[in-house]
């Protein structure tokens, strides 16, 4: 008999992933600001201190460089730390630890050390948090060889991908979202793990591929629903893992739809969207019916004003318009090529 569908929140899914893995493996511990006695700044770790004790749920001072480095040292000699950043914005004070220590240890030591460590926390814009607390930093971390970057979009993916990240023998940057912690979704009752590096088609379609990840997946799905009403069939491909990038899945989709829009929260310059488009342009140039397009944040630090923030972020309306332009443009180009009007 199939199990009852189980609906839980994103934050509960993350908590389950950590609790299940911690119960399975004593070398796993959770460390970060407010993770223990406060039960998590966003309540992701609620109850974990009570269940696992202070040895394994470790409150830290506000010292990201310090506790990121402690996690790296502990992982070097065989522990499997989960390091929580209250937000990924604060990880920038520990950027040296992630980029210079975590990412390079294995290579510099010629493979003598593995570094099984997961850095996790919310990233991207929430609501009116202004310039220093609204940054989507996946492009900054995905740029660095040696790091893996995971950005889930649903509770089920979040749980399966976090379990995979914790079990992974490389440093993983796992990016959640304040705005999604309360989002609910169906999550299997039985044990499961979602391998890193595998994208997922969240909605199948034929006319245009929208590649995206994280909370932008939901805006892309809303846009796809509106576009379906307008007769445009959109495929929404959720990367889930930014690095390693599932290039094969992107190419397979684009080769079917012949059009590509990448929706990325964050700045355009040298971003993940640019990387996806570079790969598609190189590998599937002849399959494209229109120049690949990207939709990103406006290239500014995040303003506080509510209306300005809404303008900066990719919106459902902008996604709809971008897909329409791609499809209409392609139709016009095809007509021009055929000599028509």
């Amino acid at each position: 008999m199939p199990a009852e569908p189980r609906i839980i929140s994103f934050r509960e899914a993350l908590r389950e992933a950590m609790a299940e893995e911690m119960a399975r493996d004593d070398s796993i511990f959770l460390m970060g600001e407010e993770v223990g006695h406060y039960n998590g700044a966003y309540k992701v770790s609620e109850g974990l201190l009570e269940r696992f004790g202070e040895r394994r749920v470790v409150d830290t001072p506000i010292a990201e460089t310090g506790f990121a480095g402690v996690g790296i040292g502990a992982a070097m000699v065989g522990l499997r730390p989960i390091i929580e950043f209250m937000t990924w914005n604060f990880s920038l004070t520990a950027y040296d630890q992630l980029v210079n220590s975590a990412a390079k240890l294995r290579y510099m030591s010629n493979g003598q050390f593995r570094l099984p460590i997961t850095f996790r926390g919310p990233g991207g814009a929430a609501h009116a948090l202004a310039a220093q607390h609204s940054q989507a930093v996946e492009s900054l971390y995905a740029h660095v060889p040696g790091l893996k970057v995971v950005v889930p979009s649903t509770p089920a993916d979040a749980k399966g991908l976090l379990k995979a990240s914790i079990r992974d023998d490389d440093p993983v940057c796992f990016m959640e979202s304040e705005t999604m912690y309360a989002m609910k979704g169906e999550v299997p009752s039985e044990e499961y793990v979602i391998p890193l590096g595998v994208a997922d088609v969240k909605r199948a379609g034929d006319d245009c591929t929208v590649v995206t990840w994280g909370k932008m997946v939901h805006r892309a799905l809303e846009a796809a629903a509106q576009l379906a009403d307008q007769g445009v069939s959109v495929e929404v491909l959720d990367l889930r893992t930014i690095r390693p990038l599932d290039t094969a899945a992107i190419l397979a989709s684009v080769r079917r739809t012949h059009r590509l829009l990448v929706v990325q929260e964050g700045w355009p310059f040298a971003g993940v969207a640019a990387e996806v488009i570079a790969r598609v342009s190189h590998e599937a140039f002849d399959d494209l019916d229109a120049p690949p397009e990207r939709l990103t944040n406006v290239d500014v630090p995040m303003p506080y004003a509510f209306n300005l923030e809404a303008i900066v972020l990719p919106s459902t309306e902008r996604i709809v318009a971008a897909v329409r332009a791609l499809c209409d443009g392609a139709v016009r180009a095809a007509r021009a090529a055929a000599g028509g009007r």
């Binding site: 310090g66 040292g73 000699v77 290579y107 030591s109 010629n110 493979g111 050390f113 490389d170």
Partner: protein, 318 residues
């Protein structure tokens, strides 16, 4: 006095000295490139401290770590081949002078960003405490580290969590070309440690026996009481910050004064005075060190470069 111990310390310091002299020659011949930071003059600190540690205690060091690596592993061939960028180097030519590692000997780098390895060392000690193991972590760094945020955070966490790590500040009085008094508002770096609070001691870094003794005390205390300890070694590097630095910011007289306190000379004189070794005996030990280094250089020269096909290996475990 333990004659065998003194002889061994003399042998180790001679090996470090001859290793670096050979490396400097190879550098001027273009066989070693990049940055080469010599430790000449400071050997008593690494050799003394590692002689006091158990072979299972962890070592985390900086980019000026040839002597620490040699004192822990004795692997002159692997280190020299690494400096030459050869496949037989201790990290296969991927690290060079600044990034020596040997997992089997618990030699955990070889870190190139000033201060970055201090919290990492605290993390290694965190793991020892987490697993209820009694290993101690030794973390070496220079005086220039004392103003870095990572240094502060690493010490703060080690004190807060009572981690068994011995921080060893090698105060050679210069952060690259800047004398310490121009960049540090206190005379002794150890003063900083006491505020965390971490018990601190200042020791003569030119006398290997004296430094070995204070290190032994610090390591023992870290192991038994599960507490960090801070040692400041007063020492001096005879060469510039790196091979690119002619060290014109120091007077000849100052350098000369410190060279009279050469740790190898000090120990040699003591061994002669105690009747442990004659001048000829000391020369024989030094000749043996030269022979080992001669062999290491030949080994490095003859070794192949890394296979280009391996350039992308070891970025990820899986």
């Amino acid at each position: 006095m333990d004659a065998a111990l003194l002889t061994d310390l003399y042998r180790q310091m001679s090996l470090c000295r001859r290793f670096e002299e050979a490396a400097a020659r190879a550098y001027s011949q273009g066989k070693i490139k990049g940055f080469l930071h010599l430790y000449i003059g400071q050997e008593a600190v690494a050799v003394g401290a590692l002689s006091a540690a158990a072979p299972t205690d962890y070592v985390v060091a900086t980019y000026r770590e040839h002597a620490h690596y040699l004192a822990r592993t004795g692997d002159a061939r692997g280190a020299m081949a690494e400096l030459f960028g050869k496949a037989t180097g201790c990290v296969g030519g991927r690290g060079g002078s600044m990034h020596l590692f040997d997992a089997a000997h618990r030699f955990l780098g070889g870190w190139g960003i000033v201060g970055g390895h201090v919290p990492v060392a605290a993390g290694v000690a965190f793991a020892s405490r987490y697993r209820s193991e009694d290993d101690v972590t030794l973390c070496f760094f220079g005086d220039g580290t004392a103003n870095m945020g990572a240094f502060h955070e690493g010490l703060a966490l080690a004190a807060q969590w009572k981690l068994p790590v011995v921080f060893i500040c090698e105060n050679n009085m210069y952060a690259m070309g800047t004398p310490l008094y121009r960049t540090l508002a206190v005379e002794d770096v150890a003063v900083r440690a006491r505020g965390y609070p971490i018990e601190a001691e200042i020791a003569n870094g030119d006398d290997v026996l004296e430094f070995r003794e204070v290190a032994r005390h610090a390591i023992d205390r870290a192991r038994r009481q599960h507490l960090p300890f801070f040692l400041e070694a007063k020492t001096y590097r005879f060469r510039g910050h790196s091979m690119a630095d002619p060290a014109k910011y120091r007077t000849k007289e100052e350098v000369q004064q410190w060279m009279e306190r050469d740790p190898i000379l000090i120990l040699g004189r003591r061994m002669e005075r105690l009747g442990i070794a004659s001048a000829d005996d000391l020369k024989a030990i030094d000749d043996e060190a030269k022979a080992v280094i001669h062999d290491a250089v030949a080994f490095a020269e003859e070794s192949p470069q890394p296979d280009p096909a391996t350039v992308a290996e070891h970025v990820y475990a899986g």
